[in-house]
């Protein structure tokens, strides 16, 4: 058994009001892929950001190749051969790919000038050695997500990384792009480099890694060889109990009349790939239409255009009887729309207000919660208590500030408010992103119930498993257009993955 090149022991890291890591433990051997898994908020990223020197731990010890540290800095970590590909790419969008790669480690000519020729030569070597195709002279804001990720990997290698940390690298990739990434990682480990792979996708863990470390609520739970474990075992270790994510879809009756129709819609966006160019589809009463696609292919723009949050440059959107394009969000809601926004912190919640005030965000405009310009405090309290109970929101105190809600409970507040509107159409954008497993079950069940009551739901999700388990029909978006529309019966991950990358079904 080879000596570990990294050992982290008894790591403790606090954030304001939260202990993110509490007794974290991790070790890494040369040439292995070591997966680090756990639910959102389990402390995986925090652990690895500590290793990369972005956070200084309160307690604990980090040993890299026999040298012991209380805390590292990014510069120190880089000089020890540690590189990290962050979940949010650390690239300067306005600079070129080449400038981004050499940043901080620029080859120089006299007078402090950058030797761009030398830089390009060095970077090309990595491109050739590992088959990582990238365009060096484009600006980062003009390349795709998959390419940006390859840029991040080359950046780490260029800085001399022997240990590569990847934080949820496949979250933004299609299945096909992910398998290409796995090939690259195998080439890397074959040449003696070590990989830390942070994820919560258990199938990837089984396919790729040599060992797994499981974290839960900031604590180290177990470190096991992949050959000696299984997906159900890992899931149990992650969650602390048995999990069933498949909510039974129990086909609701046949879908009814068309309630929302989007006709040849054009919508602007900052990103070229996210502009909508001629999107059309219909949504019927009592159905869930799943909208699949890799993040950034126009799904967010579509949702915002329907909700009145983004201008529509061409085409029509009809809800019920009237046209709603380019109307204000309140007018659109009045026409019969409810909206679970994809970013609950920016748009879903007012964190400075209480749970009940957030729950009443729509209902307060009407009786019984208000009478004329005045709020009816008793009715407000009763309203909040009912939703808190129905949706199992914790803490179950209406007056508690929303600031302290966990991700899952914060999302339940948003879902409760929107589902309770009983609108004709419900837009559910990434309704379970960053939410713990228990809350995911709860939220999915509520969506299916709303569907059964006759609401038409547009479900946008980057999670294929969610799309497949909830939708009656599935539309796939790619580069701002709908590339496929299929019945849930005939869909599987392979066919969706193909459509999501611009391929056509045979």
């Amino acid at each position: 058994m080879s000596q570990p090149i990294v050992v982290m022991e008894a790591i403790v890291k606090d954030f304001p009001n939260v202990r993110a890591v509490d007794g974290g433990r991790f070790d890494l051997r040369a040439g292995e892929v070591h997966s680090l898994i756990g639910e959102n908020g389990a402390g995986k990223s925090t652990m690895m950001k500590t290793l990369y020197g972005l956070y200084a731990p309160e307690e604990g010890r980090i040993v890299v190749r026999g040298r012991s540290f209380e805390a590292l800095t990014p510069a120190g970590a880089i000089s020890l051969g540690i590189g990290m590909v962050h979940q949010e790419f650390m690239l300067v969008r306005e600079l070129t790919v080449l400038e981004n790669i050499i940043l901080g480690f620029e080859p120089r000519k006299s007078g402090g000038r950058i030797d761009f020729a030398e830089a390009e030569g060095r970077v090309r070597r990595f491109i050739d050695d590992y088959g990582l195709h990238i365009q060096l002279h484009k600006k980062v804001n003009a390349i795709s997500v998959g390419e940006a990720q390859r840029v991040e990997i080359i950046k780490a290698l260029y800085r001399g990384a022997e240990i590569l940390i990847l934080d949820e690298p496949t979250a933004v990739l299609t299945p096909q792009e992910a398998s290409r990434l796995f090939e690259i990682l195998k080439t890397l480990t074959a040449s003696g480099k070590s990989v830390v792979f942070i994820t919560h996708k258990l199938r990837e863990v089984m396919a790729l890694s040599d060992r797994v470390t499981v974290m839960r609520q900031g604590r180290h739970v177990a470190t096991v060889d992949v050959s000696a474990t299984s997906i159900p075992d890992l899931a149990r270790l992650m969650v602390g109990r048995d999990v069933f994510l498949g909510v039974s879809r129990a086909d609701g009756g046949a879908a009814g009349d068309v309630v929302l129709s989007v006709e040849d819609v054009f919508v602007p966006s900052d990103k070229e790939l996210s502009k909508l160019r001629g999107v059309s589809f219909e949504l019927r009463r009592g159905e869930i239409l799943g909208l699949a696609g890799i993040d950034g292919n126009g799904q967010s723009e579509l949702v915002e255009a329907i909700a009145g949050l983004r201008p529509v440059e061409g085409g029509r959107i009809r809800l019920g009887q009237g046209e709603i394009q380019n109307r204000s969000p309140l007018e659109v809601r009045a026409a019969g729309l409810a909206h679970i926004p994809e970013d609950r912190n920016a748009r879903g919640l007012n964190r400075a207000m209480s749970i009940e005030e957030n729950l009443a965000g729509m209902a307060f405009r009407r009786a019984p919660l208000s009478r004329g310009p005045l709020l009816v405090v008793g009715a407000l309290r009763r309203f909040a208590r009912r939703l808190i109970e129905t949706f199992d929101i914790r803490p179950a105190r209406p007056e508690a500030p929303a600031a302290h809600l966990s991700g899952g409970n914060a999302q339940k507040v948003v879902v409760a408010r929107e589902v309770d509107e009983e609108a004709q159409v419900l837009l559910a954008a990434q309704p379970t992103r960053g939410v713990d497993v228990g809350s995911i079950e709860n939220i999915r069940r509520e969506l299916v119930r709303a569907r059964d009551r006759g609401t038409a739901i547009l479900l946008v999700s980057a999670d294929l498993e969610e799309i497949l388990s909830l939708s009656d029909r599935i539309a796939v978006m790619y580069e701002g257009q709908i590339t496929g529309l299929l019945d849930a019966e005939g869909a599987d991950e392979e066919s969706l993955g193909l459509l999501m990358t611009g391929g056509a079904l045979p």
Partner: protein, 310 residues
């Protein structure tokens, strides 16, 4: 009438434009340095004013323009250091800090004008030694050439050199690449091992150096006196020109030249009998127009870039 207009528009306008744009140019360079690190230095007006006072006082007492310049630079650097400390170390809003410096500078220079130089309003004395001028005997023969190219104050050509030097620094050197990355995405810079805090502090200090030079030029090159509030919005025009050029030295310089041009035309129009109230308005109207123009262009370009109809 056309005879009158030729009094306004003739070859001497070139010289007048360069001269009037120079104080604004130094103010702009002061802002560009910090803007590249994503710090909006609105305190440039105050730094300039303090620099201008210091330069006149030191020049008057010591009789040395070099000492005066060094003192103005030192004062500018100290003020910038205090601002950097407040903004970076103690997380104060840079806009508030900048405005505080501007207000303090206005009152402090007025106070010191009375206490140190014993006068109020403005101070002029033959003992004030100005910044040197570059005299080329070669050009003495021709009236036009002499007007266009001779007897520039040292800082006028130096300012233009600084534009190109800064441009080179920003886009060609390691220092510039790192500075721009700090401003554009501090987290990316940090993960590349670049000390973001230190780099921001550093450019604030450089900005103080240039701001001090701006003040010294204003009182010892552009004029040869100190007057209360003699910057008179030039620092803010520098900020406006920086926005006009989007933080790029060369494009911001063009903004300064437009300001200088309107300023020189304004002072000439006065001789045609236009009401002075309108003429005094010109710099401010020009500032607002330039900012509106820059903003309009930027928004139109953004709209075009965002559109899906192409």
């Amino acid at each position: 009438m056309f005879d009158d207009l030729s009094l306004v528009f003739n070859y001497t306008l070139f010289r007048a434009t360069l001269r009037a744009s120079t104080p604004i140019l130094y103010a702009t360079l002061t802002c560009i340095l910090t803007q590249q690190a994503d710090i909006l230095n609105v305190g440039v007006e105050g730094i300039m004013l303090c620099g201008a006072f210091t330069a006149v006082a030191v020049s008057y007492f010591s009789g040395s323009w070099l000492l005066a310049l060094l003192a103005a630079v030192a004062v500018g650097t100290v003020i910038a250091a205090v601002m950097a400390l407040a903004h970076l170390r103690y997380k104060a809003d840079i806009f508030v800090v900048g405005m505080a410096v501007n207000m303090l500078a206005l009152a402090l220079t007025r106070f010191l004008l009375q206490k140190v130089l014993g006068t109020s309003g403005s101070f002029y004395d033959r003992a004030i030694v100005p910044l040197p001028r570059i005299h080329l005997a070669l050009l003495d023969g021709n009236e036009v050439l002499r007007s266009l190219f001779n007897d520039y104050s040292l800082f006028e050509p130096l300012g233009i050199l600084l534009v190109f030097f800064l441009s080179w620094l920003l886009y060609r050197t390691v220092w510039g690449l790192r500075l721009r990355s700090v401003g554009l995405n501090p987290l990316a810079a940090e993960t590349a091992g670049i000390p973001v805090f230190r780099r921001k502090f550093e450019v604030m200090l450089y900005s103080g150096v240039v701001g001090g030079m701006a003040g010294a030029y204003l009182s010892l090159g552009y004029s040869r006196l100190f007057a209360e509030n003699m910057t008179n919005g030039r620092g803010f025009m520098g900020v406006a020109a920086m926005f006009f050029g989007g933080g790029d030295p060369i494009r911001s310089w063009i903004g300064c030249l437009i300001f200088g041009f309107t300023d020189s035309i304004g002072s000439r129009l006065q001789s045609l009998g236009l009401p002075p109230q309108f003429i005094l308005m010109i710099p401010y109207v020009a500032t607002i127009s330039i900012l509106a123009l820059a903003m309009g262009r930027k928004m139109a370009a953004q709209r075009r870039a965002r559109s899906a109809l192409k």
